[in-house]
Amino acid sequence: MTQTEPQVSFLGTTALLFEAPGEMCLITQQRIWSLAREAQSWPEVGEAIPGMNNMLVSFADPPTNPTPLIMRLQDAWRAARPMPLQGRLVALDVIYGGDAGPHIGDVIAHTGLAIDDIVALHTAPDYPVYAIGSHPGYCYLGGMDRRIATPRRQVPVLRLPGGAVSIGGLQTGVSASDGPSGWNTIGSTSMVFFDATLSPPCLLQPGDVIRFRAERVIR
């Protein structure tokens, strides 16, 4: 779906969804970060939360007429310059394959690549954290190599452990706690991403960068 104008839709009267046009990319995400920072300062906005080239805006109190807010968002989008966040680089040691990555066989089967090639391609880029969502402390990452893209699983796994490094379509990520997932687990890390007693509770935030390092590959 390639649009030239942003799309705005309602999630009831709780929130609206602002979706940027065009192919998914970092420049657009940087404009989303910029837009979210601006929108967060408006009194009618509860929270402005970046998604993947989109943004959820919850209402502090739903306005009688939402149109002025939508127009304001669209104006702000036109004016939004990419905000290159100077984030931290966090290196994660990953054990790939074996019990740590039970679905790496499916990624091998789908891509036709050897496990060492998959690990090399997965550890090569620095992955910018585009957004936080899904579950406490979870990071949506950009920048995965298309060659290791693997479709989500037909049947979701009911209990993927925290620290699981996985691939779902064109995206990769690390689960922050035990929970269900439809993604393919290729490895695991012991990093703790979320601690409610800390401020902020999340280890990472949008603009930070993750680099995966192969601690071990179980072939």
């Binding site: 009688t64 969502g133 406490p136």
Partner: protein
């Protein structure tokens, strides 16, 4: 303090939800029937947003280890206090050591599924990220971030704040403001982003057919069964923020309504959103029952929220009146 006596409780501490932590990936949680929780609190003179125990598996038993005013709202569970009947939506004073027992929700056309135990001063657990609601994934908030278990002892209010004037009650919102469509429980829905991508038959079915709540329904989401909803062309969406009430349609064509424990982002197409004002109706609809979606727009949704607020304002007024009347015990 109250002690949980039931073995498999699956009850949780909830308040009106955790707002403001979406940026950390933390969803809202909160009471499935926010109106019952708020009304129960107001009935006791609490803040409407105080925490209560949400009970969804019965029978459920607990012992008051201290004297404490309380009210049960939500489902009528033919409750008893040391064997004496306890009416729902009514305030009582429990003495130290008394046992409160809730049976299964009373059968009948108006049967609903969740009960709330509100206590004077609220359930006293620490607020985490601005709320006392239990967030199961990530295990935070509520009672140690988990469901209540047998022998758990939960703190209630402050000493000296647990005795309140009691002995009056409320008409439940389901009676004040029922919503039926062709005799079936109704929930108002606003179309969402991908609504127009569904074919005409699917869009018509959404409004005209009844939907059954399947057994795979819980605080995370309600999986519905009914006619298959089909898109004119399949869409691959980018992960984006969602809220409780969003009706997602996975590839099966059978909708899933996101409920209070839903994750705060997703990627399935959205055909509509059950409005905030009616989420309590869905949260109370029993597994196996039929529901109907009623199309509404922004103004209708705001008017429905106003009606809920008016109900709670009336509860607040009524309670203040009773509590201030001299000579009542």
């Amino acid at each position: 303090m109250i002690e949980i006596l039931s073995q498999t409780a699956l009850a949780t501490v909830q308040d009106l939800g955790r707002l403001g932590a979406l940026g950390f990936g933390v969803g809202t949680s909160g009471a499935m029937d926010d109106l019952a929780l708020a009304a129960g609190n107001l009935l006791l003179g609490n803040d409407e947003a105080d925490a209560a125990v949400e009970i969804q598996v019965f029978p459920f038993e607990l012992r008051f280890q201290v004297a404490c005013a309380f009210a049960l709202t939500g489902a009528d569970c033919a409750a008893t206090l040391d064997g004496q009947p306890v009416m729902p939506w009514w305030s009582y004073q429990a003495n130290e050591g008394q046992v409160l027992r809730l049976g299964p929700p009373v059968a009948g056309p108006g049967r609903i599924s969740r009960a709330y135990l509100c206590t004077a001063g609220g359930i006293d657990v620490p607020a985490v990220l601005g709320s006392r609601s239990t967030q199961l994934r990530g295990a935070l908030g509520g009672y140690e971030g988990r469901s209540l278990r047998q022998h758990d002892v939960v703190r209630v209010g402050q000493p000296g704040d647990r005795v309140r004037r009691v002995g009056f009650g409320l008409v439940p919102p389901a009676q004040v403001d029922p919503l039926l469509q062709d005799g079936v429980a109704g929930m108002r829905v606003m179309p969402a982003a991908e609504y127009d991508h569904y074919d005409e038959a699917s869009r018509a079915a959404l409004w005209e057919q009844s939907w059954k709540i399947t057994p795979q329904s819980d605080r995370y989401g309600y999986r519905l069964s009914g006619p298959k909803l089909s898109m004119t062309t399949p869409l691959e969406l980018r992960s984006h923020g969602i809220v409780p009430g969003v009706i997602q349609v996975p590839h099966s064509g059978q909708p899933i309504v996101q409920m209070r424990d839903a994750q705060p982002s997703g990627g399935y197409p959205k055909i509509g959103t059950v409005i905030k004002a009616d989420l309590w109706r869905l949260g109370q609809a029993p597994i196996g029952s039929m529901i109907r979606f009623i199309r509404c727009d922004w103004d209708d949704a705001l008017a429905a929220e106003q009606r809920n607020r008016t109900y709670l304002d009336n509860v607040r007024r009524l309670t203040a009146l009773y509590r201030s009347r001299p000579g009542l015990a």
